[in-house]
Each structure stands twice: as structure tokens, then as C-alpha cells.
Symmetry: C3
Subunit: 141 residues, 3 copies
């Protein structure tokens, strides 16, 4: 069969720094809408202060992951980025670069492949609420 | 030529926390079996306490990488995740989210593109031995 | 339409540890050269002491990101990797494994999808200057 490429968007409004948003259901609906049964879906964050990964989406980990990001890029330290913009989000950029803006997941027999306790999440790493448009690319047949 | 999509699995039994398993040869065999000469292979970990990356597979780094994960998400700190499950693997989830569950590598002229000293590894981040099934998706021609 | 797969290379000479090189324009030129209008581009680092991610490319963050890498894998600690090679780059390997060697970005209507302040960067994590050849794989139509 011939491969198809289709694009979709997920639009989000985040509430605060370290808002972690479960986008699994939106991705599953997109896969269904696409009609593509076998292939790969790429979730991409256009922006330098957000990231995408997977996690077991439960309230404890929504605190534990930000605590680890504090160890990597603490709130209470000075960032050279401050010289450029004075917007207090140096840590946001650093955290986003380390986790990364891109995630690729298989689609098999019309279903997104994920573990039982594994959800796809957008991480708002900026220090203020943001509107976000994630780009979903599905390639397959 | 027309692109093909093929799926494969790698089944592993891990022995302990921070077991790092070299899956390079299994991936190379899968590429050969697939018959796909040019394209991309995606390695995906269904599960929220495992991760995939590359490393030079030698005994020293198998200790050095876990030491860095201890800095990011230490063993001897409290995790809110504990409230949900009481299974002592809060750090496992946090580490897995940061490294990530997905890796995509080019296949060119029938060969997996890797550096001379670069191996593909599965990281068992859970605190107990696990059976793991990784999903390999090859797209190409 | 039928999907195509095309390969390209980006050749770099890095100057020092934590050299962060903006490869966005080279990637955009490659996308244009490929003639592929819709699809995905994968940027892959063959090698275990380099990594690829995105960041807002401004002088402050080029210091802030290395500072975070120092927290994850400090310069002034002992690495078991030293026993194997005595080349003082244990931290380089650890940092590269955590950030990762692979990044996938959508191409839509002939354009690379990126945020306004988001650039694609190669991170030289080795402790000495290196020649690097990154592999770009474009799949699409």
C-alpha cells in the first residue's frame, strides 16, 4: 500500500509553570480521524519552553517530575538568559532542551502503542500560562 | 518505490534496577529480516519505567549513567508517587520521563546508522526485574 | 502520492566542549534541496558524545544549558569510564545519553515546523574539538 502523510494540531491553554497536560485521548482521536491504521505518529512542540514525553499520569508524579527539573535547572539560581529578555524563564528553556520537543509513537492496527500506565503529556515549562499548538504528523497506510 | 511499514518486537527480561541492555544486535537482525534497505527504524518502550537511548556500551559507563540518574532523581528522597502505589519506584518514573521512551535511527543501504562506539540500549529503570516487549517500527523501501 | 526517502549529511567542525552549533539553516536548505514538501525529517548523531535538541539560540542559554549539564554529570567527579579509555570524557557520554542522539521534526508545505524562537542545535559534549557528520533522513512526498 502507498504511505500517506497527514497533519493535525492539538491546541492547549496551559495554566502555570510545570502544568503537565495529558494529551493521550486527543492523540487517540486524531489517529482514528486520520484513518491511518499502521505507521508512526510524531508529536512536535513548536516552541522553546515546552516539551513532550510520556509518564504515568497520576497526581504524585505531577509533583515528582517538576521536583527533578528543579534539580537540573533550579528556580533560585541566576541564568545568563536573563540578560537577553529579563523574563525570568531561563530555567524553562534549559529544561525544555533536555527533555526535548519531539516524540514518535507507533500506530498498529489502528491503535496507538502505549503501556497500560503510560500517557503522553505536554509539559508547560514556561513561567506563565501559554497558548500552545502542537503539530501531529502521521505517516503510514 | 513504495514505502513499507513493518512491525517487530524485542522481548527482554531485565535483572534489576538500572540494568542497561545492549539491543544493537537484535535491532540489526530485525533490519535485515525486514528487507527494508532505506528508511527509519523507531524503537518504542511501551511502559512508564523504562527508556531507550544510545551509549558506548562498556562497564564503566554502565555505572556512570545510573550515577547521573541518582543526581536527577535520587533513591533517598520522598516521591509523591508513593501515595498512589507504595511500590517505591517514583524515581523510576521520573528518570524514564526525562530520558524518554522513543528513539528513531536511519537505515541506509540496508545498514543501521550508528557511530563506531555507539550502541542502542534499553534502560530498566524500575526497581524490580521486569519482562519487556519493545516495539520496532520500520518505515522505508 | 508515493513517499520518498532521501538522505543528506551535515558536516561540522566543533571547537571545544559544550560547543552548541545552530544547524537550523543547514536543515532548512536540505529540506529545500530534497524537494519533499510534506513529511518528517530526522536528524541523527552517529557518535556517543554528541547530541541534538532545540533551544532559543542566544548567548545566555549557550551558558545556561552547559551549567545544567554540569549538575547532571559534573566535571569534577570520578567516572568509571576513565578505567577504559583514560580520555577524561566520562561526563560527555553520560550527558549525550540523557539528551539523546535523535530528533524528528515535521516538514509541512515545504517548510520546517519550528517555533519563532526555536533553533535546532548540535551539542558537542566531548572534551576536545571533533569533526562530526550528522545524518539527515527525509521521508515524505
Amino acid at each position: 500500500m502507498v504511505s500517506k502523510i497527514k497533519f493535525f494540531e492539538i491546541n492547549l491553554e496551559t495554566k502555570e509553570e510545570c502544568d503537565i497536560i495529558d494529551i493521550t485521548n486527543k492523540i487517540k482521536e486524531t489517529v482514528k480521524t486520520s484513518g491511518i491504521k499502521n505507521g508512526l505518529i510524531n508529536i512536535f512542540v513548536p516552541g522553546s519552553t515546552g516539551a513532550v514525553t510520556t509518564i504515568e499520569y497520576e497526581p504524585g508524579l505531577l509533583k515528582d517530575l517538576p521536583a527533578a527539573l528543579e534539580r537540573i535547572a533550579p528556580s533560585n539560581t541566576y541564568y545568563e538568559h536573563e540578560k537577553m529578555w529579563h523574563d525570568g524563564n531561563g530555567r524553562s528553556h534549559v529544561r525544555a532542551s533536555i527533555i526535548g520537543p519531539s516524540l514518535t509513537i507507533p500506530i498498529k492496527d489502528g491503535k496507538l502503542i502505549l503501556g497500560t500506565w503510560q500517557q503522553v503529556v505536554f509539559l508547560e515549562l514556561d513561567v506563565r500560562p501559554r497558548k500552545r499548538s502542537l503539530v501531529l504528523t502521521i505517516i503510514g497506510e
